[in-house]
């Protein structure tokens, strides 16, 4: 009897089931399903892009690009991972690419001795804690930052993170360990 119980697949969670249905409807061309999918994942994309350092003035464009990429490649989504994991993967890739472009621009700006850009603040994020966290996260290399954000802010498991960033679980743990140590160090510098 024991083996039977082991082979029994776990009951899908309501969200997973709804995600699968949503993907099916989207693939069938149901436009309302597209809107539902957007409504469900827009806050996640916004939060993740913000934590990965996409500046406020680029966030709307970034979210737009991420969702266009999601909708256009939905037919390639095989359903092996959770839909959210797949969206995280697209968003992480996009945010890292944006960060690289931003750094290149900054370097060019320094070379051309142009005016420093004005960094805008999202009025919904006036919290000093958010600003403090952003300052600490800024110091982390992109790979460690992505892992830390996915684990500590987004609440993903190491397995899910390894799916998102495309590396072994051990590497995830190692990056997380180093990122945490650097964050604590940064926090100690901020607290007198």
């Amino acid at each position: 009897m024991g083996p039977k119980q082991q082979t029994k697949p776990p009951a899908p969670t309501p969200t997973a089931l709804a995600d699968a249905e949503l993907v099916r409807s989207c693939r069938a061309g149901d436009v309302t399903a597209w809107r539902s999918l957007y409504d469900r994942y827009a806050p996640l994309v916004h939060r993740f892009a913000s934590a990965l350092g996409v500046p406020v003035e680029e966030r709307e464009d970034a979210a737009q690009d991420i969702f266009i990429a999601v909708f256009r490649s939905l037919r390639h989504f095989r359903g092996e991972a959770q839909l959210s994991t797949w969206i995280y993967r697209i968003a992480a890739r996009h945010a890292i690419r944006l960060g690289r472009r931003r750094r290149t621009r900054e370097n060019m700006r320094l070379l051309m001795i142009k005016e420093k850009p004005t960094f805008l603040v999202d009025p919904s994020e006036r919290s000093t804690q958010i600003a403090t966290l952003d300052r600490m996260l800024e110091k982390l290399p992109p790979k460690k930052r992505t892992v830390l954000v996915l684990f500590e802010i987004e609440g993903l498991s190491a397995k899910e993170i390894s799916d998102v960033v495309g590396c072994p679980e051990n590497t995830v743990w190692s990056r997380l360990h180093h990122a945490r140590a650097e964050m604590v160090k940064a926090a100690r510098r901020m607290v007198p």
Binding site: Y38, S50, A51, I68, F71, K114, E115, Q129, L133
Partner: protein, 401 residues
Amino acid sequence: MKWLEEPHDDAERLLRECLDQAALRTGDEITHRRVWAKVADAIEAPEPRSYGRFIFAGAATVLMVAAGLVAYPHIRDLTRGPIVQMTPIAKNVVHATAPTKSESKAGAGEVTIAGAEPQATLIESERVPGNVVRTRAGERVRVALGGGAEADLAENSAITWDSQHRPSIEKGMARLSVPHQPPGWRFSVTAGPYVVTVVGTKFQVHVAMNTVSVDVTEGVVEVGRGSNSTRLVAGDSWNGPLYPEEAHTAPAAPQERPSALPTPAAKAPVATTRGLQDAQAALQAGDTRKAVEILTRAAQGTGPAAENASYELGRITRYNLNRPRQAVALWDKYRTRFPAGLLRTETDLSIVETLSQMGDVRAALTEAEAFVARHPTSERRMDVQRLAERLRASETPASLK
């Protein structure tokens, strides 16, 4: 258990609090809706067939742009006539004089530059604080400001650079032409206590004895002093006192500015997303009346926030206050104010749905047909078409009366 849930010191406590706070930043509903409007438009566009072709086209474009950037200064030199380059020996003041064929020093730290037609002379001055380019009566020069921007300096005018290397109109009049700046880049020019910030536009700054004025020909500019700022669009004019402290006014606030010109003072101020967030907070707290008040105020302004507020007013009236007819009137008002607004599709759709739910078959059918005609590529077109068919089928003689 969460990491640092039992912190050892203040630093760890701060870090945990920051992480918890970050988990709550999900963006506001208005932003999500605005992004959706763009996403919906984009995903309806035909999908590119091959990424390889696009990567190749992108790489070619990058190469061409890079080559253009490298070659641009040389081409400009060749095509725009003589360029007067400041020399390190005498770089403090430049005078563009009436055309002669000579260049002569006019005194210590002052150079008279000549040799070109007044309207065609392009001065490439070192953009360092203290350098001044000055014109006398009857003279006119163009000054390169970096980043492809140029100032056409009228007679009896002067331009200099401030400590942040920003061009600064010292006196007289300058017509500025600024090419579109890359994302995240802003071009600023100062005039008296004001900073005019642009992304890409043409405008004119005039510094007179006691006033500063800005006239926008193309694009959008922002005039600011301290934390106050106002946005001007093409055709707008603005003026403010050169010495605001003496005038005892807050010049950047349009309504307080002394102005003889048709300035945006007559216009409503630009609404901000802060108001919308306050409205959202009020709604969440169950204070619909307060939310409506905030949105009504925000809707009276201009810009995207006002547009969103106008739409939101209709939505709250429909769903929170349950006044469908009033909601339709509000959405209709939105359509009049923002005929090509970002939320136009959503507004049209809301009107169709509300009229249909109200049982106003004739009006709903008219709106539905108008929607199908107006938004032939909308994702909701098929839904609305189906609704129109149902309405047509249910149209009875009674409802036609």
